[in-house]
Symmetry: C2
Subunit: 256 residues, 2 copies
Amino acid sequence: MKPTNSLERVLAVLEVFSEERLEWMPEDLMRELGYSRPTLYRYLKILKDAGFLMSTRNSGVTLGPKVVEMDYLTRRSDALVLHGVPYLKELTTAYSCTAMVLRWYGNKILCVVSESSAKKPISSYPRGRPMPLGRGAIARSIMAFLPRPRLLPLVERNLADLRSVGLGDTAEDVLKSLKKVRKAGFSVAYGEVTPGAVGIAAPIFDDRHYPIASVCVTIAGNLVTGALIDQIGAEVRRVALQISADQPRQGRKSKP
Amino acid sequence: MKPTNSLERVLAVLEVFSEERLEWMPEDLMRELGYSRPTLYRYLKILKDAGFLMSTRNSGVTLGPKVVEMDYLTRRSDALVLHGVPYLKELTTAYSCTAMVLRWYGNKILCVVSESSAKKPISSYPRGRPMPLGRGAIARSIMAFLPRPRLLPLVERNLADLRSVGLGDTAEDVLKSLKKVRKAGFSVAYGEVTPGAVGIAAPIFDDRHYPIASVCVTIAGNLVTGALIDQIGAEVRRVALQISADQPRQGRKSKP
DNA sequence: CATCATAATCTCATATTAAGAGATTTTGTT
DNA sequence: AACAAAATCTCTTAATATGAGATTATGATG
């Protein structure tokens, strides 16, 4: 995963920005990335000229306006956003909840669009905020449908989290729990991500039945009973499958 | 502006995505960018692995989830967004309108945050959608405060648009009109961007009194009279100056 | 299921050009 | 005006990006 060529090294500059560190000083970037002074400044100049970065008054750098513009384009081009919204509205009309579509990418889950009918929406994960893989109904709904060789390393890497939410002590136990999710077709989580909130999620598949995203409904725990959860689960599953079916058929493989 | 090194050439791939062309086929990219087949595929692989691009079923490429994640970070790190929101709320509380902060970057104006109290918001420029420089109160509020050497080429490049909204026939005439805007401290536009909507804008300055952004209020034309527009203009100007003052002092120059 | 057409990747010799040490200039502060 | 810090420049060398062409995946078709 270490950058091996100069192309990846420029992009690596953009990778260091995170919620914990939104602004960087050139000096710190040199240390963090291990680039020489002229090289780093060269990279910064290129990234600034392209609008990916901008410099702040106190000579730090932050992500720039080009990112904002590209995100706008992403909202217009993402098939899951475009096809998903009407279905999410169905769900928020039927229940007082937050409904969203989340993409799986890297080792993260990322909300790409959400709709809400709850008076006081409880989700702390708006568009673009990455969620960890180990907790919550969403991650589980996706993992449950991964082929074993792809799944196992993932489970092992996130075992601590998975254990803490009671999925099982060993990797094999976790796999068993996930098999049940697979059978049900949707997953449920009680307050794993946000206290008091119930998450109900089902996977979206690509044309090879490979899970690439998830539909999730988040609803206040005091609003739901066991029977209602099953009902919502069935609806979420239906919606996820319909969004899957809306995706264009045919095509080549893509790195998940 | 033509890419001169391989670093800029990778980034140039991201530049071709636009509202008119949200998805590209590799073959078309080769033609558009003039790259050889192996080189293009190399670039695509790197950009896909980093999440900047993703491939769709029918083997086209679109902007990817990393963009979404970075935009989330931008919302959290942009000083204008962070400081601007409370002021925008002031404006939307006082009037039934849409109030926004827009950055000036490249040859474009870009909304970075907006608030609305209008029943039916009329702006067609949400976060991230670039506006042209030649029309609207926003662009004018910024141009009016640019030093002449910076301004003149800009006016000449956008003369057709500027003329069509009645700012003057020649570049010199336009400069005169802008001088009046500068004196007033804010600019007004009647239906230049959206028919029936009045735009009222004032610039945000950096610590060298250089305009870098703008505050704009958009309000339905039938809701305002001349006197009210002046009142709103004064408020918008006040807000823009306060946001300017909130910016951290000191620092080095940045390319506008 | 075999064949075909297209898309994506690989190989490798060569020219291109990124990289970095250190000097120099620019910028803001005292 | 003088100083300190930040950013850029110069120039040589080693590193590596490039593309023609061959090769391998991949999905479509009969």
